[in-house]
């Protein structure tokens, strides 16, 4: 009886050992043969080479479509919008390039989920945008209505594309400021500048969405209105050129320490919602006055000066 019990125990141990062996072999096989995920840095680097800002073939297709719009009667009113979307893509690409120079050094990967979501959305929608224009290129006889519907498709996909950048930049902004450590390029200037990028992108997306929803089933010149989108994109383009492509303000902050950045930060913290409001209207109305509750110790004159600085800043002027 005792021998039987002993034999049963040995069998149990053998089964457990066998099970452990199977688990170990499975783990080893998974590690060796499963395709490795690309690192976020590799994934990110890819998007800096696929957009019309970087990829010559995509850019050529876009230019061809612009030419088609320009010479087809009945759709020429899209020209400004095409030009604006191209300018927007270039500006978004410049911001991505800015983050690309730093992301590899980020120590904290807790924002990778949001960042990867944004990257994948950009990559997928960029592929669709390329396909739309590649198809349009083949359709040499396309008339007004086909060109219209091509652009309506393109615009809707472009909205998804820009929203991908929105996710990416918001994640990158957090990663940049929280995981590079205390470095020269994370300061009051970088905070205000990169938060303003996020606000600009939000305002531009809101306008593109309005355009998308008002042109779902085709548009006519009489009902089409680009509104302030072109002016906002132009303002964003100046802003990116002044503070992102030219990084003087961020890199030299500790030497120049412009007090206005402290004030701009204060504006942003205190009147956060007004930053979006300001961006939403300032591009076409530089004389805008914003009413806000003054719960700081600012006098009216100080608040007015602050607003004036903020206006100059968001339009890419010297601060």
């Amino acid at each position: 009886m005792a021998e039987k019990k002993k034999g049963g125990k040995g069998k149990k141990i053998a089964i457990i050992m066998l099970a452990l062996l199977v688990v170990a072999v499975t783990v080893v096989l998974l590690v060796v043969f499963l395709p490795k995920n690309k690192s976020t840095a590799d994934n990110f680097k890819e998007i800096t080479s696929i957009t019309i800002a970087d990829n010559e073939e995509s850019k050529a297709d876009y230019v061809l479509f612009e030419e088609k719009i320009a010479k087809t009667s009945g759709v020429q009113y899209y020209s400004d919008e095409l030009s604006a979307i191209k300018s927007l893509t270039n500006s978004l690409d410049s911001v991505a390039d800015f983050y690309n120079d730093y992301y590899l050094f980020a120590q904290d990967n807790s924002f990778n989920g949001q960042i990867n979501d944004g990257i994948n959305q950009i990559k997928n929608s960029q592929k669709k945008l390329n396909d739309i224009l590649a198809a349009a290129k083949l359709d040499v006889e396309a008339g007004m209505s086909i060109i219209q519907s091509t652009w309506i498709d393109y615009r809707a996909t472009a909205a998804t594309f820009v929203k991908g950048y929105q996710k990416l930049f918001e994640g990158m902004n957090k990663a940049y400021h929280s995981s590079l450590g205390n470095v020269l390029v994370t300061n009051d200037a970088s905070r205000v500048i990169l938060n303003t990028v996020d606000a600009y992108v939000a305002v531009i997306i809101s306008d593109i969405d309005k355009l998308v929803s008002s042109n779902l089933s085709g548009s006519k010149e009489s009902t089409y209105s680009l509104g302030d989108l072109g002016a906002k994109i132009e303002g964003f383009s100046h802003f990116v050129a002044s503070y992102i492509k030219d990084q003087t303000h961020i890199q030299n902050f500790y030497y120049t320490m412009p007090e206005c950045y402290g004030q701009l930060a204060k504006f942003e913290q205190t009147f956060g919602e007004n930053l979006t409001k300001l961006l939403d209207t300032i591009s076409y109305n530089p004389e805008l006055e914003i009413s806000y509750s003054n719960n700081l110790t600012l006098t009216n004159a100080q608040a007015a000066a602050l607003l004036s600085n903020m206006k100059a800043f968001v339009l890419g002027g010297e601060v």
Binding site: D101, L104, L180, V183, Y255
Partner: protein, 321 residues
């Protein structure tokens, strides 16, 4: 079983005793640190030393390398490279500041100082050997043979230079963290001694950066140190800095420490020597091996060509006289 328990108990008592000894002020007093540096510096000032007192490229030092010249086709001789200047700057710091350890009575762990001094001493013996070899050739020797001897001497200097900076960094850390020479730097009224040491230990870090870049990453074959740093070595720190200037210096040097970490990471992942010599300065070619090298290169170039140049201007105009 009883034996095992007794052994474990004994081990616990020994570990506890060591911890208590350290916590209660065990370790070596400052005099030991002083004597260790003093002995090594005196050794390096002896007659057969490769060093002598000289001024070269605006740097005056008791530790300027002798006979560190390369022969050209026209039979004239030129200063060989940055090794001599970097070694002189590092040893100047040690020579100036090690006496501050002399009267510090509290004991502390100086293992890192001792090991860095040992490595410097070993490097020095190799350097001395190569220096004595250069004396075996005459000035009329064929250029190739002459320069071959100097190249071996330069290679020993390249390795020695890194030991100097490790040793100087260990001293700077000891004087700052243990002796607390610059403790008052962020107080309302920092002392003149605190300001001077604080600024100079941060400038030492800059020389250390150049040493990492030029001597290790570039293998002393490409790149050079910005001459603004040579000219700064002849000047002295303004010890009556305004409160604002001191705060600005502290903010900047602190942020530069963070930037230095990124740059060291870039240097670990990027060879400027390969970039210039193997890939002929073509980053696209280098990127075929590692797609991220362009990012590392940007960080390295930003750090050395922008941040340190701007810092040098700040030093020349605000921190030094």
């Amino acid at each position: 079983m009883k034996k095992i328990l007794t052994s474990i108990l004994m081990a616990i008592i020994v570990v506890f005793g060591c911890v208590m000894f350290t916590a209660c002020g065990g370790g070596e007093p400052g005099k030991v640190v002083y004597e260790a540096y003093h002995a090594q510096l005196e050794e390096m000032k002896k007659e057969d030393s490769p060093f002598g007192a000289a001024t070269r490229n605006n740097i005056t030092s008791n530790f300027m390398m002798k006979n560190f010249m390369i022969k050209t086709a026209s039979e004239t001789k030129l200063d060989y490279g940055d090794q001599d200047e970097l070694i002189a700057l590092g040893l100047n710091f040690i020579e100036k500041y090690y006496p501050l350890a002399k009267d510090f009575e509290k004991g502390s762990d100086i293992a890192h100082i001792k090991s860095s001094l040992e490595k410097m001493s070993e490097g020095y013996e190799i350097l001395k050997e190569e220096y004595s070899n250069t004396k075996k050739i005459s000035d009329s020797e064929d250029m190739t043979i002459y320069n071959g001897f100097i190249a071996r001497y330069a290679e020993a200097a390249r390795h020695f230079s890194s030991t100097v900076y490790d040793c100087a960094a260990a001293l700077a850390r000891y004087l700052s963290n243990t002796v607390k020479v610059d403790e008052s730097i962020e107080s309302e009224a920092p002392t003149a001694a605190a300001i001077e040491f604080y600024v100079e230990r941060n400038i030492l870090k800059v020389y250390h950066d150049y040493n990492e870049f030029l001597m290790n990453n570039c293998k002393a074959s490409v790149g050079s140190m910005n001459s603004g740093w040579y000219s700064l070595s002849g000047k002295s720190v303004k010890t009556n800095l305004s409160k604002e200037a001191t705060a600005q210096a502290v903010a900047y040097f602190t942020a530069l420490d963070g930037e230095r970490i990124l740059t060291r990471e870039a240097l670990e992942n990027f060879s400027y020597y390969d970039y210039q010599i193997i890939y002929n300065g073509d980053v696209k070619a280098y990127e075929k091996i590692d797609s991220h090298v362009g990012i590392y290169l940007k960080q390295i170039e930003k750090y050395f060509n922008q941040y340190l140049i701007t810092l040098n201007a700040f030093c020349q105009t605000t921190l030094y006289q």
